[in-house]
Subunit: 444 residues, 2 copies
Amino acid sequence: MSRTLHLNAFLMGVGHHEAAWRHPHTDPSRVGDVRHFQELARIAERGTLDSVFLADGLAVGPAVRHNIQAVFEPLTLLAALATATDHIGLIATVSTTYNEPFNTARKFASLDHLSGGRAGWNIVTSAQSREAWNFNLDEHPAHADRYRRAAEFVDVAIKLWDSWEDDALVLDTAAGVFADTDRVHEVGHAGEAFKVRGPLNTPRPPQGRPLLVQAGSSPDGIAFAARYAEAVFTAQQTLADSQAFYAALRRATTAAGRDPDLVKVLPGIAPVIGGTEAEAQALAAELEALIVPEHALAQLSGMTGIDLSGYPLDGPLPDLPDVTSVQAHQSRYQLVVELARRERLTLRQLIGRLGGGRGHRVVAGTPEQIADQIELWFTEGAADGFNVMPPLLPSGLADFVDHVVPLLRARGLFRHEYTGRTLREHYGLPRPASSYATRELVTA
Amino acid sequence: MSRTLHLNAFLMGVGHHEAAWRHPHTDPSRVGDVRHFQELARIAERGTLDSVFLADGLAVGPAVRHNIQAVFEPLTLLAALATATDHIGLIATVSTTYNEPFNTARKFASLDHLSGGRAGWNIVTSAQSREAWNFNLDEHPAHADRYRRAAEFVDVAIKLWDSWEDDALVLDTAAGVFADTDRVHEVGHAGEAFKVRGPLNTPRPPQGRPLLVQAGSSPDGIAFAARYAEAVFTAQQTLADSQAFYAALRRATTAAGRDPDLVKVLPGIAPVIGGTEAEAQALAAELEALIVPEHALAQLSGMTGIDLSGYPLDGPLPDLPDVTSVQAHQSRYQLVVELARRERLTLRQLIGRLGGGRGHRVVAGTPEQIADQIELWFTEGAADGFNVMPPLLPSGLADFVDHVVPLLRARGLFRHEYTGRTLREHYGLPRPASSYATRELVTA
Ligand SMILES: Cc1cc2nc3c(=O)[nH]c(=O)nc-3n(C[C@H](O)[C@H](O)[C@H](O)COP(=O)(O)O)c2cc1C
Ligand SMILES: Cc1cc2nc3c(=O)[nH]c(=O)nc-3n(C[C@H](O)[C@H](O)[C@H](O)COP(=O)(O)O)c2cc1C
């Protein structure tokens, strides 16, 4: 089959627009109702999307005053969605900075077993500095240190998933042999941050390993993705920027000795859909009018690490330090600064532009116009697919599934039905062999 | 309403008997099938049991060769069961030794939100020394140190659950106020093991706090339970021992300034049910014959911390060190040693006695005989209810629900239908107020 799009439904509360919860089309009380998320997962499955995708954060600050936040922890929520769906992948964001590899590897294995092979892990190093305060630290570890820990963390997790070979579970009732312990391996990891003996306390998951997704687009993030990621979630504002990112990631992947076709690049896209272009623009304007500026400025201050509350809304973004000094979230910082400079935006205009997708690209238009943009990026080397971020939920997801997906199917860009059962199969990615199995073959 | 029994369905693989998976009534391949557990949860709900209960362990050793083990991690499995059931409580075991309080508090809050108030946490400090090796340590922390950490861990978790007052989620769309930040509190914990600023990143869970269950019956365990537990899971072999434990826990609870009626004592019971007593005995004998002795000895070596593999099966348990020197699981060690001495058991007899319930009491008999034993312990001050540990699953649970529960109902000991919606309501326990709300009232 020729190259096809991959589309995830990125779910967040009652919509990705920061003022979604104030809009009459949403019911914010549903943010803590599992049935809301089950409904969203079923809509996404009706659209044969590759996965539902959940972000995460391990702290809240004063911004919670004005904006909806996640009530559910991603892995528990996705376990609940696993039993309400049959095919769709389930991708949870989990930080390597404030977790342990044994517990994390195990939870993803559990989700993969529960869902029959539909688990994916979006690997992040934590975007918010304030998370440190909930985990015994006074300061967020430095950017480079977080990525070094992340690499070792994933090394350990892979060893643990591989520690049970695929056929280790024997279940020989006559002989009383439950597992063939010759095929269950201690992993004996001893590194800079972790010492983990293993094996994992669960048989190898259906996918061998969950799909490894990554988000974090700084140079360190790209280097990490080149080594580990099978899908990369990224925020890109322009075709040219995304093409550059796409090319850079492929070069880095090749340099790391991996096939770049096996790493899918998925920018975020926040589609504001209208029956006509004017309707779409009106919806975008309605949402923008609902933004609480002080909240948006607090968010922007968080992204940039600079307190912007004193600056006039109708003035420009002040001069900011160089990106290399940023310790939290480098790529988002750079994107915001470049966006403001390129389009000479006032602070008010900037927060309006960011409100729809926290830095991700917002496209307002008819279903055809949205499909055109998706096709353009897909065919012009800017994307292998998208994390779809509806401004309002469920309505924006239903609109996408019912009006945009059929166009993408008609153009031969997207599946008409699921052809695989696992998330790896949806992505057209191979099931990895256990590294221990390979080793045994080599020495045999 | 007069005092009534509380019954949890303790689920483990295809049965609690260590050889359950070899018995023709079970299908061991279902140990990794979520539908098996959904079926079990629905059977338990049909019996209006208080909860399903899951144990946990964070390591496997060579014993995995001969015995079935858990495939699923408890919180993800219970999240999947939450959406397959309506009333039954969901109790997960999580160790305070190898987790972080922020992540743990949050996952239980998430499960409580997902299930509409049905989450319970069985707090343990980890029974197996080998878990240390999966978490950067060479040795399991000493018994007393683990309990000290556990107390601080739960202190932090309680502060985090309380950090959002019940009415903090305002959702005032007109004013753009999502949460009333005057009612969302930093917890500012700084103690010996943890420094956690908070608040939690989720609104207060439906039950305020999940039900706090505890397992670990050493003197340190009892002191911990007296301070924190609302239900206590314990292994007791005889009526007299359980009465002594029951009384000791009540005394300690009173001494800790709490109402002992609000702490439910739940011994484990492994009911081997037959239409006649002879049938029940035959099933018990069948199961015992399926035990792999070398496996049982390895298990026993694990429980006692002494390598017993060299000792003759038909000789006595050798002399063992004093319980106070035991660092892993003191109460189980003591129970095993006393059982062997009291009944002058050979090693072979001892492993037969332990095979049915890992030290928990095994009762083989007709439904009437099982109900009699339950009633006796309940009325004679030995138990407020039981963790029911069917030897075979699902058959043993179905037998209990369909044949023993109706007797308990007819005797006025157990509910005919659910009268509450939350796990706390099933247990007749109050919903705790947020400690921050109280403080505000005091200073107002
Ligand atoms: C598109 C995108 C999505 C991200 N999502 C999350 C997230 O959900 N949670 C989180 O803690 N970090 C998230 N991150 C940031 C990662 O934590 C990242 O490891 C860290 O901030 C460094 O990002 P950088 O490589 O762009 O500097 C995201 C990053 C990107 C680019
Ligand atoms: C009835 C019972 C059940 C237990 N279940 C578990 C369990 O599932 N996982 C675990 O790590 N520890 C479990 N424990 C042991 C606890 O980890 C306990 O904190 C530790 O071993 C000390 O036990 P002790 O107080 O009896 O010495 C259990 C203990 C008892 C008495």
